[in-house]
């Protein structure tokens, strides 16, 4: 058993678990996008960033790929972490503004403007579909092609491969496809629907907001 401190709470966890799993077991909320319990950790989206305190300095690490260590001190909600997460969500939103998951995340984090140029690519390259196809379906029909700004998820030579069983799992597991933001217009890259602070049962701006809306917006994590 390994002893570590997360947000000032001491905990004992099995060796080999990740910081994210340990924190979730303790009931600490860490937002994630590319992480899925049924898939191997990937560390692509960086939204699960936590602060690892080492003596008088600290570093930011993606908790989904960070294994627990003896005596580790983790902060999941420090100013450094929230600032970094906000920036990451803004960056992700700029490449994929029509994801309700992302818009909700932005609303919960109090982001009120996306500072980057919006370039809608409809994908955040989290690799969930790729890993699902490979690990769960044992198929490997889709994967990443290209590099840098031209990197995208695709099938080989853009034709449906023999390996594809039309299971639709890639769409089902996608954090962007699963909930599309239905807001008509975006202001500063945000739909704003979920930032509605008035105490209403249903949000009138984006139609996807009908479930469990609190006065502070959604809690989707």
């Amino acid at each position: 058993m390994i002893e570590l401190t997360i947000d000032g709470i001491k905990a004992k966890v099995e060796e080999g678990t990740t910081v994210l799993e340990a924190a979730r077991e303790m009931g600490i909320i860490i937002p994630t996008l590319c992480y899925h319990p049924g898939l191997s950790p990937y560390g692509a989206c960086r939204v699960c960033m936590v602060e690892v305190v080492k003596g008088d300095h600290s570093s930011l690490e993606a908790s989904c790929t960070l294994p627990v260590e003896q005596g580790q001190v983790i902060l999941t909600n420090s100013e450094k972490v929230t600032r970094a997460r906000k920036l990451i969500v803004e960056l992700l939103l700029s490449s994929c503004p029509n994801s309700k998951t992302l818009q909700d995340m932005a609303a919960n984090m109090g982001i009120n403007k996306v500072r980057f140029k919006i370039k809608d690519r409809g994908c955040i390259l989290c690799g969930r579909c790729v890993r699902y196809c490979k690990e769960q379906m044992k198929s490997g029909g889709i994967g990443f092609v290209g590099r840098g700004t031209s990197r995208r998820v695709a099938t080989a030579f853009d034709v449906t491969p023999e390996e594809c069983r039309n299971c639709g799992g890639c769409e089902w597991i996608c954090p962007v496809c699963e909930k599309a933001c239905m807001a008509d217009s975006l202001i500063d890259g945000l739909c704003g629907g979920c930032q509605n602070l008035a105490p209403v049962e249903t949000c009138l701006v984006c139609t996807g907001c009908s479930e469990s809306v609190s006065p502070q917006g959604h809690k989707v994590y």
């Binding site: 490979k134 198929s139 490997g140 029909g141 889709i142 994967g143 990443f144 092609v145 290209g146 590099r147 695709a154 099938t155 080989a156 030579f157 491969p161 390996e163």
Partner: protein, 167 residues
Amino acid sequence: MVNDYEKVKAIVDRYGGKHDSVIAILQDVQSEYHYLPEHTLRAVASQLDLPLIQICGVATFFKAFSLKPRGEHTVTVCLGTACHVRGAPAVLDEVKRQLGIEPGNTTADMRFTLETVNCLGACALGPILVVDGKYHGQMSLGKVKKVLNRYKKVQKDGRHEELKVSS
């Protein structure tokens, strides 16, 4: 096609059919065909028993691999910082004008492929124009035409003048 399959098989066998030698295999396939034809990628995938997309991912990731047929000569213009300040963009424009193609493309007669590179590490020679691995330094707009013409001309025996000069 059958012949191609055998060729690829020989290359794959040379590396013992190991999954971690995909890059080496693709390099050998590319040196055989000058590019990576679709059917050779399919052959590599089936012989290594890997999904085709994984091979495609590797082939599209590295700039050294090309999925498009390449010309006989590869013309590379360095656009690194040192070459840039010495006028490489103008050299590139001149090469583009001479060959009538954009970087990354091949002329219709399959003679030249134009590429750009971000630094060749020979900044003292800049601006540099590389044709088939031969460095032509201190390039000027006038010299571009001269250099390219050497490769454009074909000798009667089918060999290029440049090859004859260097041999």
